[in-house]
């Protein structure tokens, strides 16, 4: 409305005229200092955490070096500590869980973002959020008492009968093992995939869909060939996030994986994961070297999840920015 731009009086001369002393008596400097201490302590705790893992594993790191990651033997009595069976178990269960959770999670996210009316979508999302809040130990209880017997009596024998020629499905069906742990993990990470993918899909601009539909594609074609590719990086981000969760998950896996430090090609065999090894052995570590090796396992787990979480955040950020950028244009 104004034709001439009246120069807005800059705020700086005013605040400049307030001396440090006046700000101190106002309490502003005190408030700033106090809150700064709390904010700094967040950084301090994080740094301490990394330092303590690094320092706490110094013996093991020096003694085993890189061979820690390729040695298959974990024998606390003989003082030999190789992390390979744990790394293998962690990766295998995580991969199995992703194979189940990704299609299901993305499917559900597509439904919530593309098809369901806003009210239905929000209600279902509310339940999905609650599902994400279910404590891991409860998944473990259900795993032990429901899924393990189910796997032992029905699913694993059936798998052996139909796919038994593959090395993946051989050996006795105990019910516990990589496959069961993977299935329990899958149920646990699905909510994360759904929530994040739904957000990402919702951030895809409307005109993308409309353009595809107006060119004659069906609803599914517009979703699968236009909307999903547009949101691809963000969906990848949600998968990485879920993968980081799966790697670090402790209780449920400990309860159903079998806790045997062995590498087996068969998914029906029992194994061990990094987190489960720490949970089971840390309190009963027989020697300083044993507990140091366990702390080094913790360090490995920390680094894995750190890298995955970082990548996930970058990918999700990239998509949402792309979405909002296109939307404004």
């Amino acid at each position: 409305m104004a034709t001439t731009t009246t120069p807005v009086p800059d705020a700086s001369p005013i605040s400049g005229s307030r001396t440090f002393l006046s700000r101190l008596t106002d309490g502003d400097e005190i408030a700033r200092a106090i809150t700064f201490v709390f904010a700094a302590s967040v950084v301090l705790i994080t740094v301490l955490l990394v330092l303590s893992l690094w320092q706490g594993s110094v013996l093991a790191r020096h003694k085993f070096g890189f061979s820690f990651f390729v040695t298959q033997v974990w024998d606390p009595n003989a003082g030999i500590f190789g992390a390979l069976p744990f790394i293998y178990g962690t990766l295998v269960t995580a991969i199995v869980s992703l194979l189940i959770a990704v299609p299901l999670g993305i499917g559900a996210a597509i439904f919530l973002a593309e098809l369901a009316p806003a009210r239905v979508s929000d209600t279902l999302e509310f339940f999905i959020d609650l599902l994400a809040a279910v404590p891991s130990v409860i998944y473990g209880v259900l795993g032990i008492f429901l899924i393990v017997p189910l796997m032992r009596s029905y699913i694993e024998p059936a798998l052996k009968k139909t796919l038994g020629f593959l090395p993946l499905f051989q050996g006795p069906a105990y019910g516990i093992g990589f496959l069961t742990a993977g299935i329990v993990l899958a149920v646990m990470i699905i909510p994360y995939i759904i929530s994040v993918s739904r957000e990402v899909l919702l951030s895809v601009p409307r005109d993308q869909r409309e353009a595809a539909l107006s060119l004659g594609s069906t609803r599914w074609e517009s979703t699968w060939k236009v909307v999903v590719p547009f949101a691809r990086t963000g969906i990848m981000g949600s998968i990485f996030l879920a993968l980081a969760r799966a790697l670090g998950e402790t209780m449920a896996v400990t309860m159903v994986i079998g806790n045997t430090p062995k590498i087996s090609a068969s998914l029906l065999a029992s194994g061990y994961s990094i987190a489960a090894a720490i949970a089971n052995e840390f309190n009963e570590a027989s020697s300083p070297l044993h507990s140091q090796a366990l702390i080094e396992l913790g360090l490995v787990l920390f680094l894995l999840t750190f890298i995955l979480n970082g990548l996930a955040r970058l990918l999700i950020l990239a998509t949402s920015q792309r979405g909002s950028g296109m939307g404004n244009a």
Binding site: D28, A31, S41, L53, N283, G298, T305
Partner: protein, 283 residues
């Protein structure tokens, strides 16, 4: 041509139905879990469960009073440790800090948020158990509190930043100093959001087991104070479920039901507080 179109429409309808099935299956899992726990554990919940100590194997009755109180104590300690750091840290980020400091603090918080809970347990052991040579409720509270910090910090900051600029300027124009503006205008305007964040953080750590294994440890009796090891619901569920006794399995189901209901109720209350509207109009 027509057949091709019909095929494409069929594929479209089929795949869209499948996505609906995926969504239903995922949501059904929640009700399945709840139903299972009620079915298996509901019958073992009675007055004794909340008021009595566990009894040795073979004896009937007994409860989990010590674990329930222990979980309460742990959550209280965790809140006392984690929430002030998260809350005041968020005030610094939202109101005082420059962009570089804010970036560093946010980055640290996000990193902390992603740390697997078992690794938090190792750290809490090194800091709060090893120097004192015994497990304690304090150590458990410290571990859980650490996990609450990033959740409280990031959400509180978001809600503080959502307070409209006009409110700040109004307070400043009336001559209030910055901290007075924060204490009397900004924080009250954002309190619903902050309360939600705190409750969600409590719910998130209430079911954590892994960090407690090496810190609060467990206890079959009443804890003799906060310096002593204490039982907690998640840890009891874990050890009872792995035991070979039928009786204990039933107790584990019952404790699982109590824990799940606790976590879900906190979650629902937290979201309820938020959805009744942030108390400031967004302008």
């Amino acid at each position: 041509m027509n057949a091709r179109l019909r095929w494409r429409k069929f594929v479209s309808n089929f795949m869209l139905t499948m996505t609906g099935v995926c969504a239903l299956v995922s949501v059904a899992v929640l009700f399945f879990i709840l139903g299972c726990l009620v079915y298996q554990g509901g019958t073992s919940i009675n007055w004794d469960f909340f008021t009595k100590l566990p009894v040795p194997v073979g004896e009937t009755g007994g409860g989990m009073a010590n674990a329930i109180v222990g979980t309460g104590e742990l959550l209280l300690l965790a809140t006392l440790f984690g929430v002030p750091i998260g809350f005041f840290g968020a005030i610094y980020l939202a109101e005082f800090s420059g962009s570089t400091t804010a970036f560093v603090v946010r980055y640290a918080a996000d990193l902390l948020n992603g740390v697997p809970s078992i690794v938090i347990g190792i750290f809490a052991y090194a800091v709060a158990v090893a120097p004192f040579k015994h497990f304690s409720t304090y150590a458990g509270g410290f571990a859980l509190g650490m996990m609450m910090i990033p959740i409280t910090l990031r959400s509180t900051e978001e809600f503080l930043l959502a307070v409209p600029r006009t409110l700040r300027e109004g307070a400043m124009a009336l001559g209030a100093s910055k901290w007075k503006t924060i204490a009397t205008v900004i924080v009250p305007a954002a309190y619903r959001g902050i309360l939600t964040a705190v409750l969600l953080a409590v719910a998130r750590v209430a079911g954590e087991t892994a960090p407690l294994l090496f810190t609060a440890f467990g206890n079959t009796y009443w804890s003799r104070g906060l310096k002593d090891a204490t039982a907690s619901l998640p840890a009891v569920i874990y050890s009872y479920a792995l035991s070979p006794y039928e009786d204990w399995h039933r107790q584990a189901w019952a404790a699982g039901l109590v824990l799940l209901v606790l976590v879900l109720v906190i979650n629902i209350v937290a979201r309820g507080i938020l959805s009744r509207g942030i108390s400031v109009p967004r302008s």
